[in-house]
């Protein structure tokens, strides 16, 4: 799939990944503990859907999973003239918000990165633990 090559993980992350490779049961336990915490934090603020491969920082701190088509690479061609969603007319298009908010971020160029296809087998799991364990590489799997 066309995507930027994953950034090399930091030394700390490499050690965490090595640790969790050796201790898969600890990883599973921490994943179970992290899930409710992640939901409690990210659902009220971002409307998190627990896709398990968080891309919030690259989509203007707007969860793309709120899009009825779960588009992770930008808006579809059906956005209404008032900026609302074609499927849910009362909802502002997720990508209108993402584009607007991304302008305020120091890393505003991140929205241009091509997001790889979702790994649906990770749905419901903790995105934090998936990064720590190396299941999801920051910069794209």
């Amino acid at each position: 799939m066309v995507s930027e090559t994953a950034r090399a993980p930091s030394a700390l992350l490499r050690r965490a990944q090595a640790f969790f490779r050796r201790h898969p049961r600890t990883e599973r336990l921490l994943d179970r503990l992290a899930r409710p915490l992640e939901i409690a934090l990210k659902r009220p603020i971002f409307g998190c859907r627990m896709c398990g491969q968080c891309t919030l920082h690259e989509t203007g701190l707007t969860c793309p999973m709120g899009c009825p088509k779960t588009l992770r690479n930008g808006p579809c061609g059906g956005v209404r003239q008032n900026g609302h969603c074609e499927v849910v007319p009362e909802m502002m298009c997720v990508w209108i918000k993402a584009e607007r908010r991304s302008r305020w971020l120091p890393w505003r160029g991140a929205i241009l990165r091509i997001q790889p296809a979702l790994d649906w087998s990770l749905k419901g799991s903790s995105a934090w633990m998936n990064v720590l364990s190396g299941r999801v590489q920051k910069g794209g799997p």
């Binding site: 799939m1 066309v2 995507s3 009825p68 088509k69 779960t70 588009l71 992770r72 690479n73 930008g74 808006p75 579809c76 061609g77 059906g78 956005v79 209404r80 003239q81 900026g83 074609e86 499927v87 298009c93 990508w95 209108i96 584009e99 607007r100 929205i111 241009l112 091509i114 997001q115 790889p116 296809a117 979702l118 649906w120």
Partner: protein, 339 residues
């Protein structure tokens, strides 16, 4: 073997020629009769380089785009098969791309797809396993690396020309050229735009596209469609998301009256005017006609606007000499990207 009887020249060669390209979309068919499809295709084939067949447009069930494109390929017409992410997951998409290549279909237009909510069966479960960019990346990946997404080798790999779309008329307007840039980065070999009614907005979009240098990276075909009645124009404006129909055009269609010949004449005249104005915008690679269920309009539009296929000269030298060339934008930079 069901494949095409002879090798087709079409979009790939037209894009490589550097001359303005003309494509046209026809209805894929509302029944099991291939004759109706062939009849529509023959109405436009002399005027275009390739013919698009849509994939369940607006979420309403039609004949499969794969089947319709295969029928066109048998006729010696180069099809552009629309592939949407709405109805198929990545497994089905990969097998369809492979099947398309086996049937002689090379051009693949990668789309997100209209949501089922606007279709005739809103109860259906929409899929959207991939989005249009990931689908485009998938088609490029299968062609270039000769491997499935899993990494398993494809023997032999499909030979595809993947294309993409962009809609300059849906917000966020500033982001549209950047989204096009993403599609070019993902490997799009041609771009077909949404229908242009608002030429000013399209010119602004193209200015930004030129700033980004995208017009030199990929041929962009400007979408044009004829209006057929004031009612149809109002329907497009009010009920088709992502389409912008200025009130001035609707007033013109209203003034043309209810009589069929007069309103159809006005619709064709507007389409030709739009083509003439869009042609002045630098950086375009040609035109993409979308005569929504009105394939008969393609011949008069092409004739009056002086549109002709890029390969017209190669196919029928005498006719090309008589009609005179289209004065399009400079396309010398458009070279087919290496696969």
């Amino acid at each position: 073997m069901i494949g095409p009887a002879r090798p087709i020249t079409g979009l790939r060669e037209a894009l490589a020629s550097g001359r303005p390209v003309v494509t046209c979309e026809i209805g894929s068919g509302d029944g099991a009769d291939p004759e109706a499809l062939r009849r529509r295709a023959h109405l436009v084939r002399e005027h275009v380089d390739a013919v698009n067949v849509p994939d369940n447009t607006a979420g309403v069930v039609h004949m499969s785009a794969l089947a319709a494109a295969a029928i066109l390929a048998q006729e010696g017409i180069d099809p552009v098969m629309h592939v949407t992410c709405r109805d198929r997951n990545r497994l089905a998409l990969q097998s369809d791309l492979l099947g398309a290549s086996a049937l002689g279909i090379r051009n693949i237009l990668c789309l997100t797809g209209d949501h089922v909510i606007h279709g005739d069966q809103p109860q259906a479960r929409p899929v959207f396993d991939l989005d249009s960019l990931q689908l485009l990346g998938l088609a490029v990946h299968m062609t270039r690396t000769g491997r499935y997404l899993s990494g398993r080798e494809i023997k032999p790999p499909p030979d595809l020309v993947p294309g993409a779309t962009e809609n300059p008329f849906a917000p966020p307007y500033d982001f549209r050229p950047l989204r096009l840039q993403k599609k070019v980065e993902a490997g799009a070999r041609f771009i077909q735009t949404q229908i242009i009614f608002n030429v000013e907005r399209f010119a602004a979009f193209m200015a930004r596209v030129r700033d980004l240098g995208l017009d030199r990276a990929v041929p962009i075909l400007a979408g044009v469609a004829p209006l057929r009645s004031a009612r149809g124009a109002r329907h497009m404006r009010d009920h088709v998301p992502g389409l912008e129909v200025p009130d001035a055009l609707i007033r013109r269609m209203e003034q043309a009256g209810e009589e069929r010949s007069r309103r159809e004449e006005e619709g064709i005249r507007i389409a030709v005017e739009i083509i003439e104005r869009v042609r002045e915008i630098p950086g375009l690679g040609g035109f993409h006609l979308m005569p929504i269920h009105w394939e008969e309009a393609v011949a008069p539009i092409c004739e009056r606007a002086g549109l002709r296929p890029a390969l017209a000269g190669a196919r029928e030298p005498e006719a090309a000499a008589v009609r005179g060339g289209v004065r399009g934008p400079d396309l010398s930079n458009h070279r087919e990207q290496t696969a």
